[in-house]
Symmetry: C2
Subunit: 471 residues, 2 copies
């Protein structure tokens, strides 16, 4: 598909149909992304205030065959938000569309525009004594439209699902400029193909989300946190089953931690308070959120007793107050920073079927041992089957010593994931960074259907060109 640049003539045509301050040259921050792998080329930036203005922009871009790069908070980790090559694109930032349109506490529904920052969505829910459970590291700058476009995961998935599970309806502008008003607040609506789920996770390649009706939840009345030492990843999974049997949907988080992460923390961030004098090889961080009259400490003690009886856990700490719970979570949340300071050779955001996790961890170690000597920090959302599997040099070496092995490591890990029925991108999406992985590992029938859908809805290929799918 040949695209044209967003040149002066194009800009002039847009200007004629839009308020003066909607268009400008893109400043540097719109051309950067957190991993620094891609740098966007100079671009025209549009900052629309209304859905109608978004429609006008897209319609002109479609007429002129100009590429459009939708831009939320810019926090994506796979380069979906920057176009490093091709004709000069139009960057379409939703940041001015940041209104809370409506809140319906009795319905547990909040309707927001796409440019609202995730933390502000959470705060708006909190203001009516409700919970919006999507929570992730970038929540202070990520915008909800981007979260939905990438189907963001985060720490609440085990209990509340991914972003797509938190959305009842969407308003969006399709690649021909038509506005789709699908901003329903209905829990049941079987009237034709589900465009909502098609746009969610399409990373801006099939249209631009402009507003969403989001699901809210009652706040759990009381919460509790425990850090339990398990014998093995398999014991962690059995503990999860036990916890589900005892506590059902009340388990809010179930995170696996390996000694390597705690060791890196002691080394790089000695001020972080460590709960154990001697870091255990494997531990699990559990959060519960209870309704009604249940006591979280009692519930966790009951769980611990049964798990100890079953030989799954050998030791454990139940947070006695909020400060201690924060300390436990602080260890989990600082592990990525410890990793960063050590410097990984290769990092993987993978998922496998839950019961395959122990095998994946065992085989991963064997496969890497055939390539060389490494330290592995494997941790993450084990309750979702989502592991962060990061490979580090031995002490005394650094990542540059292993540059020549990086591609081999990545292929070995992704091949193993594929063999076990897993995913090479559990929560970050495809963007530009993992498009080759999708071509390599993706199901051929799915890829052909994706191309057909992309061509049908965006025949000129203007929406986020270069991301996700190549037509």
């Amino acid at each position: 598909m040949m695209l044209n640049p967003a040149d002066a003539a194009f800009r002039a045509r847009l200007s004629a149909d839009l308020p003066d301050d909607v268009l400008r040259d893109a400043d540097a921050r719109y051309l950067e992304e957190p991993r620094g792998v891609y740098v966007g080329q100079p671009a025209l930036l549009a900052l629309p205030r209304t859905t109608e203005e978004v429609s006008t922009l897209i319609r002109h871009a479609n007429d002129a065959r100009v590429g459009v790069v939708p831009y939320g908070g810019g926090t994506g980790l796979v380069g979906g938000q920057v176009a490093p090559d091709g004709p000069v694109p139009l960057i379409l930032s939703l940041e001015r569309m940041n209104k809370l349109r409506d809140v319906y506490p009795d319905e547990n529904v909040l309707v927001v525009e796409a440019g609202v920052i995730l933390a502000d969505v959470q705060a708006a829910a909190d203001a009516v004594d409700r919970l919006f459970p999507l929570s992730l590291a970038a929540e202070g700058s990520a915008r909800i439209g981007g979260n939905l476009s990438t189907n963001a995961g985060g720490t609440g998935v085990l209990r509340y699902g991914n972003s797509r599970d938190l959305c009842l309806g969407l308003e969006a502008v399709l690649p021909d400029g038509q506005i789709w008003n699908g901003l329903t607040r209905l829990r049941k609506n079987n009237t034709g193909y589900d465009l909502r789920h098609l746009l969610i996770g399409a990373e801006g390649t099939l249209g631009v989300i402009t507003a969403a009706a989001l699901k809210l939840f009652p706040k759990p009345a009381r919460t509790g946190t425990a850090l339990l030492v398990v014998n093995s990843p398999r014991a962690a999974l059995e503990l999860l089953s036990l916890a589900k049997a005892q506590l059902g949907e009340m388990i809010s988080a179930f995170e696996l931690i390996h000694r390597q992460g705690m060791d890196f923390l002691s080394q790089t961030l000695p001020d972080v308070r460590q709960p154990f004098a001697e870091p255990p090889e494997w531990s699990v961080l559990i959060d519960v959120g209870l309704s009604g009259e249940l006591d979280p400490s009692e519930a966790l003690e009951t769980l611990f007793a049964a798990a100890h009886e079953a030989g799954l856990v050998t030791d454990g700490l139940i947070a006695q107050n909020a400060a201690q719970a924060t300390d436990f979570w602080n260890v989990r949340e600082m592990i990525p920073e410890g990793n960063r300071q050590i410097g990984s050779i290769s990092s993987h955001d993978i998922s496998v079927p839950l019961s395959a996790i122990p095998d994946f961890i065992a085989k991963g170690g064997e496969i890497l041992a055939r390539i060389g000597e490494f330290r592995i920090n494997c941790f993450g959302h084990v309750g979702d089957g989502n592991l962060h599997y990061n490979v580090f040099p031995l002490k005394g070496k650094n990542r540059a010593d292993h540059d020549h092995q990086k591609a081999e490591i990545q292929a070995a890990v992704h091949d193993l994931v594929q063999e076990m029925g897993g995913s090479f991108s559990a929560e970050h999406g495809v963007g530009r960074m993992k498009r080759a992985d999708l071509e390599h590992y993706g199901d051929p029938a799915k890829l052909s259907a994706m191309r057909a859908i992309k061509s049908a809805l965006d025949p000129n290929g203007i929406m986020n060109p270069g991301a996700v799918v190549n037509v």
Copy 2:
């Protein structure tokens, strides 16, 4: 799109590539549907045993431009399963693909073929001490592939979601005969467009589901049932909010019942035990399923006390044992049969936003009063915003007396639903019966996207021709 009939030459080509007993003339039961609105024409019937055979059938049909009508349990209520006109089609029944492929209790996953009967899916979950929560009247004959294709609802939606929310992965044959292996058991997988959610709810117009990975749940340790008398539909909604605040996700059902339904029951089925001597105008049937150490009766008593204090409920019964709970549910479940015996003029499966329910009920009555004198039985899954809104003649008249008003009543109800942001088909789908409603009430951008997707994935229009969308 011009289709060809499934004639002798076509049958001969299929026969050459398939086992002898896969093909036969369709017997009468494949040409009927429960409402009796459509009668299928004579057709060729295929009964494949494997996904590869389904692929062979679809590939030949696509090559020959022969229409394919996918057939599950035949229980759909909108004529999606029969083709009353057009060239003779191939009916593709999944009934022989009825294997439980795998069960993973620790993952809470069950992998089944599309032809497994819903009740057998529930039983397979039960056999490993898990719950598959999809539950509906036709569960003894409906097949899971059809449930997914139509995104079936039922009584468990409030707590567990619609069919689409219970599915982790699909295997399907696309309209060109390609097999898509998307039978993942992953909870997180962000690798391209979500074909799963596109096929779910497409009612067989974009391909044929051949297998699914389903979510299982821990069984609630203890359950409880209450029938509470509320002052009004608005009080019912406030009671729902209160119940959610107290019991969170533990509310399994929340059904509204109107006096009219109980009156019809007394009249037509006097043997059904009625819990109240004098039927209340509005009542709510609540089910809770609790984990851990909670006592369901205590939880319901606490709820009743708070609701009484708040002036929402005036009276109520908490089931003291399983037999009493069954009695309460029996009233709810027999209401449709009472309706059937009275004979409605017009029945509606509608949804509106939760908070619009009281207004909908009030305005519905006003609008119908302008058309004529009727009895209205409004009841159903109020926790989901899904009401069965059925219009009956006054005592002494019968439905034939109102035939001339039927179209006007339907349009008035659907117009009101549309005006309030609701849906003319909450859980039954579009099929052939509601295609005109979809054209009339559907969002134009959505309709154009639907047509583009249909043309892209099924350019010859062979899949369930005449259902859902007209290209």
